[in-house]
């Protein structure tokens, strides 16, 4: 087996990867390094002097109960979004996998929402569930629900979870459908002959065979809920009411850009970076192994 590529010049391979490296360096490593440096700095209120304070920004964060609340909130949001989106997508995929008339059409339709950008998703759901504008809000109030996500933090949180989970269903659906279709038909037929009813067949054969897909999607969804929900939160609640929907990523934005506390904001970014690295590490470890059953 020949592993070494054949290049006449030693420079050519470097020249070929240079554009890629340049993009990664300029748009990732440079800002990341800036963030790390920034996280060690403290500015006065008017931005006139900057002093190097070592880990003070981090220590302040860990002493701040609001930061802990944001961590807990973010994890709660992530799991709620991942679990609800995954289970609903799996349900849809199982139904779409049945050989029914027009299945190609609704498979295609189910994939479309993935093309909608997160802020647009936010706007869509605001229109539906805004306390005074929303179409659905009227029905909710007619049913006796005191619906007002602008004032009620729990309702605002539910709204964010709903919109974020909805957005992710298409993506999960696509992977689940592919996963279901890669299970050999004959294995399911064998289970049917072996006397397993549809529900038992699902839990004892199909679900375990889907487990690599489920794990992969779980990590992807958590990462999504951590970072990509920014647009949804910004258009729907701006982190409010109070701080009821302020996730870690949104807090970076409010503390840094709105609060002007760049040092703390940078420290928070660095912590988020570490979380991403850990999550990606977990994913690579398990997905690379491929078969988990």
């Amino acid at each position: 087996m020949q592993k070494q590529a054949i290049f006449q010049s030693k420079l050519l391979p470097y020249a070929l990867v240079a554009p890629q490296l340049a993009i990664v360096l300029i748009f990732f490593y440079w800002p990341a390094a800036q963030a790390v440096i920034q996280s060690f700095l403290l500015q006065d209120a008017f931005g006139l002097s900057t002093s190097f304070v070592w880990f003070e920004n981090y220590l302040e964060l860990f002493k701040d109960p609001a930061y802990f609340a944001a961590i807990v909130r973010t994890f709660a949001f992530s799991f709620a979004i991942a679990i609800s989106s995954l289970s609903f997508a799996l349900l849809l995929a199982v139904m779409a996998d049945k050989p029914l008339r027009g299945s190609t059409l609704y498979r295609t339709l189910l994939i479309w929402p993935y093309a909608v950008a997160p802020p647009v998703v936010g706007v869509l759901w605001v229109f539906m569930l805004h306390p005074s504008l929303g179409v659905l809000s009227r029905y909710l109030r007619a049913m006796g629900v005191d619906w007002n996500p602008l004032l009620n933090g729990d309702q605002a949180a539910a709204l964010i979870i709903l919109a974020a989970a909805w957005k992710q269903i298409s993506y999960n659906f696509l992977f689940f459908l592919a996963g279901l279709q890669s299970i050999p038909k004959s294995v399911i037929e064998a289970a049917a002959i072996d006397g397993a009813r549809p529900m038992r067949r699902f839990w004892t054969v199909i679900f375990p065979l889907l487990s690599p897909t489920i794990f992969f999607l779980l990590v992807i969804n958590i990462v999504y809920a951590f970072f990509d929900t920014f647009g949804i939160i910004d258009t729907m609640t701006r982190g409010g009411p109070g701080k009821a929907t302020e996730t870690l990523v949104y807090k970076v934005y409010t503390d840094g850009l709105l609060g002007g506390n760049l040092g703390s904001s940078a420290a928070q970014s660095v912590i988020l970076m570490v979380i991403v690295v850990v999550l990606t590490g977990i994913q690579f470890r398990f997905v690379e192994r491929k078969v988990t059953y």
Binding site: E189, A190, I193, A196, V291
Partner: protein, 360 residues
């Protein structure tokens, strides 16, 4: 223990395609029935209809005196061995075999006894804790068999179970399956496209073509008295020589050809000789190719040039070409002119459309 009866069974797909065009088969208790035919003849579809994996659009399927048209696969008391084995990849060999028993709520102790007995018979005992991907093809095939036998069903269904194995293992497993079936005495239906497998396994052989049954019977009867030219050329390797009876040379030689349009002669029924063919056939051939198989030699000869052409169906000989079997390794050389003679009682006569046998 049950017999399986198919009464004018039909399968028409929503698009209008007729996969099974009315099949009647009666498999007695404990018999081994083999469905054989070329790919696309509907044999697998028919088996899957018996299993309950395909709906029945016409006729009745009866297992052990009960019409099962509307019965779920799980409730038909059948077990099936799939071509790709269809083992549960996430379960150990033990659990693969135990799954069907657990689904039926059998006690763990009884399950253990049955699985261990099956594993002993199939020589799988040391591998009960392994996963299917850690097994060889032959071992997987035996696990699939084990999964069927632990259930002690009324009927075994086999869907080309040996076609994923290499040639040597295939022959060994063929014998194993036959022995196992004899010992358990369970009614079996077996689908294959391999005519040798069909001949050696079957109590009843069902030759299918284009969704219809061409012939049903004992394998040797079918070999000796094929009902149609399709059966004549499908059963037996190399295939029977089929020649139209329009050429004067042939027609004048054979006695009693009323109603016949095609004559068939098996390669082994020819003798290369200069003697006269009284009422039989004598063909002058130019040797074109020779195949030495060891115990026998196949001589490919051509008749007259104007009769040459392309084969009408896959597996059949091109017109004008004749195969002659010669025992041992002695035979003519390429390019030599030979005279192949077959006696009258070895001739098979068919109507011109090949759909009916004429005479005995």
């Amino acid at each position: 223990m049950a017999n399986v009866t198919l009464r004018s069974v039909r399968k028409t797909y929503p698009g209008g395609f007729e996969a099974i065009k009315g099949v009647d088969v009666d498999v007695g208790d404990g018999q081994f029935c083999v469905l054989v035919g070329p790919s696309g003849c509907g044999k697998s579809t028919l088996l899957r209809m018996v299993a309950g994996l395909e709906t029945i659009t016409g006729g009745e399927i009866d297992i052990g005196g009960r019409v099962v048209n509307q019965v779920e696969p799980a409730d038909r008391d059948i077990a099936m061995v799939f071509q790709n084995y269809a083992l549960y990849p996430h379960m150990s060999v033990y659990n693969n075999m135990a799954y069907g028993l657990r689904n039926r709520g059998m006690a763990e102790a009884e399950i253990r006894t049955r699985v261990e007995e099956a594993a002993r018979v199939l020589e799988l005992s040391p591998m009960l804790e392994r996963k299917p991907r850690q097994l060889s093809g032959g071992q997987r095939q035996r696990v699939a068999m084990g999964r069927a036998i632990v259930r002690q069903p009324k009927v075994f269904l086999f869907d080309e179970p040996l076609s994923n194995l290499d040639a040597k293992l295939r022959i060994a497993m063929r014998v194993e399956i036959r022995k196992l079936q004899r010992r358990l005495n369970t009614t079996s239906i077996y689908v294959t496209h391999d005519q040798l497998e069909a001949m050696t396994l079957a109590d009843i052989l069902v030759v299918m073509n284009g969704g219809q049954v061409e012939q049903i019977g004992n394998p040797l009867d079918i070999y000796q008295k094929p009902a149609t030219t399709f059966v004549a050329s499908f059963i037996g390797a190399p295939p029977m020589n089929l020649m139209p009876l329009r050429s004067d040379e042939l027609t004048s030689q054979i006695t009693g050809t009323e109603g016949a349009g095609i004559v068939g002669i098996r390669p082994e029924d020819f003798v290369i000789t200069s003697e006269a063919a009284s009422g039989g056939v004598a063909l002058g051939l130019t040797v074109e190719a020779i195949e030495h198989v060891g115990a026998e030699t196949f001589v490919y000869g051509s008749r007259r040039r104007e009769e040459q052409g392309v084969a009408a169906n896959p597996g059949e000989l091109p017109p004008g070409e004749v195969i002659v079997r010669v025992p041992g390794t002695t035979g003519p050389a390429i390019g030599e002119r030979i005279r192949a003679v077959a006696p009258r009682d070895k001739l098979h006569l068919f109507t011109a459309d090949g759909r009916k046998r004429v005479g005995p």
